[in-house]
């Protein structure tokens, strides 16, 4: 058996189309999922048992079921209740919901890890709950959100492959089309492997750049001077450790 490159030469437009759709779906699901996650995290701060219980049920449910089942429930459930929308939208919604549960947990944990006095001092001076979140709480937690959120986002990108099972023509779906046409599964899936690897590597790298930027800001705030911070940051480390 030989690796048949001509398959890739012939079918590359499908891979490009699939990649582009995967990227758009994941970008949308990250944004929508994060917005829902932040809203849930904020709602969970309201001292109401009913709200807390509702959020808890939402989070537990979404984290307890396999993504493919969630996808099928949304895909077959929406038409059942009279809503007909394209599979790609259905898939993006399911992926957003899936990610939102994990993002919500991350944001909630970060809010609750801050000393309570930070929030109290903002409220006592007259800020509303939302103003306190915006001016006092969120600026402090954003740096700590990056690493765990990156993990969730990478998991979500990989789970987006499942959308192929409801005929969304994303990357995995296209690779199935190619291998169906050519009977060359290894070539098709090897190409897809490389593309997923590239997407996740880019996301992970972008996240580490972001984290480094926040990390520097944070060490500055710990030591109180930009000069001292530059010694703590990667810039000042010996060249060989910088890869």
């Amino acid at each position: 058996m030989t690796f048949d490159l001509s398959i890739l030469a012939q079918y590359w437009p499908l891979f490009v189309k699939g990649t582009w759709l995967t990227i758009r779906i994941c970008l949308a699901a990250t944004i929508i999922g994060y917005v829902i996650g932040i809203v849930l995290a904020l709602l969970s701060q309201i001292p109401s048992r009913a709200i807390k219980a509702a959020i808890e049920i939402y989070l537990l449910t979404l984290r307890a079921i396999p993504f493919i089942i969630l996808l099928f429930v949304v895909y077959y459930g929406l038409p059942f209740s009279g809503i007909r929308i394209p599979a790609v939208i259905t898939g993006t919604i399911a992926l957003s919901l899936y990610a939102s549960a994990y993002y919500a947990e991350i944001v909630r944990a970060a809010i609750e890890a801050l000393p309570r006095g930070q929030y109290e001092s903002a409220r006592v001076i007259g800020m509303s709950a939302l103003q306190a979140m915006r001016h006092v709480i969120f600026p402090q937690i954003v740096p700590t959100l990056v690493p765990p959120s990156t993990n969730i986002t990478l998991t979500m990108i990989k789970e987006s492959a499942v959308l192929s099972s409801i005929t969304v023509a994303e990357l995995t779906y296209q690779s199935l089309v190619v291998q169906g046409n050519t009977f060359a599964p290894f070539e098709a899936f090897a190409a897809v492997t490389l593309i997923y690897w590239a997407i996740t590597a880019i996301v992970a790298h972008a996240a580490s750049l972001l984290e480094r930027r926040f990390g520097r800001a944070r060490s500055e705030h710990l030591v109180g001077s930009a000069l001292a911070a530059s010694f703590l940051s990667l810039e000042a480390m010996p060249k060989r450790s910088r890869r």
């Binding site: 001092s121 903002a122 006592v124 001076i125 800020m127 103003q131 600026p139 402090q140 500055e220 109180g224």
Partner: protein, 261 residues
């Protein structure tokens, strides 16, 4: 203008059934300095947390400069005020927490500027001018651009005081202002509180510094078991305590008290 800066009546707070504050009445006149003393767990801190509505009291009325805060009586029935009305009143009560709770991601100056801009809707220029004046008055003119982590304990405390003063409060509350400080800094903070008092600021100071209570306060309030057990001018309350529990409390901290009185 009301002559009463703060009026508290029937304030009651329970945690899990037991009363931490039990029907507390306190009126503080404009310009008056009240020192609140008492053993730990007597309800002093809870009192401050309740009159700022950080904790919601189960019963009681609070008013600041004659205006109801938290609960009000409308047409013969008691109503909780809407959140907006409560938030609008809050700047009138300046609270300096024991832990200070400065916002570590903002410079000292920004800690004082931001709440003025967000809460009082002052322009940034106006708020900055006010903040710089306050920081200068508190000997922090050259510390405005520092983050809280780069300030000493005493400096942080003065920033926290400036942050509250910038809101033009009717009354300032201090929760054990000296307990988190190194001993050599305590004198400075007490002198600053004395200056504020001399400037006519109304204050309630929860403190263990009997010396401060004796020298600066107009009135000493002794709390015990969630109630005000004894109150009066420091000369009488600290020198001739009537309540046996106050006598016991004072004898426990006798060295400090003997020195001061």
């Amino acid at each position: 203008m009301s002559a009463t800066a703060l009026s508290v009546s029937g304030l009651t707070k329970r945690f899990k059934g037991s009363a931490v504050l039990d029907d507390v009445y306190l009126d503080v006149a404009r310009g008056e300095v009240v020192a609140m003393i008492g053993p730990s767990g007597c309800g002093k801190s809870t009192f401050l947390r309740c009159i700022t509505l950080i904790e919601q009291p189960e019963a009681g009325f609070i008013s600041v400069a004659g205006k109801p805060f938290g609960r009000e009586v409308v047409g013969g029935t008691v109503h909780r005020q809407p959140r907006r009305a409560v938030d609008a009143m809050r700047p009138k009560i300046g609270m300096v927490f024991q832990a200070l709770n400065l916002w570590p991601h903002m410079t000292a100056l920004e800690n004082v500027v931001r709440p003025q801009v967000v809460v009082l809707k002052r322009s940034r220029d106006e708020a900055t001018a006010r903040a710089q004046k306050l920081l200068a008055d508190l000997d922090l003119a050259d510390r405005g651009d520092r983050l809280p982590h780069a300030l000493s304990g005493g400096q942080k405390q003065r920033v926290a005081i400036a942050r509250a003063l910038a809101m033009d409060p009717e009354i300032m509350l201090f929760d054990e202002p000296t307990s988190a400080l190194d001993p050599e800094l305590i004198g400075g903070v007490l002198a600053l509180l004395k200056d504020l008092a001399a400037g006519g600021m109304t204050m309630i100071v929860v403190t263990h510094e009997i010396g401060f209570a004796a020298n600066v306060a107009d009135r000493v309030v002794f709390m015990h078991g969630g109630r005000i057990a004894e109150e009066g001018p420091p000369g009488r309350v600290l020198k001739q305590p009537g309540d046996p529990r106050l006598q016991a409390f004072l004898s426990l901290i006798r060295p400090a008290a003997a020195e001061a009185v």
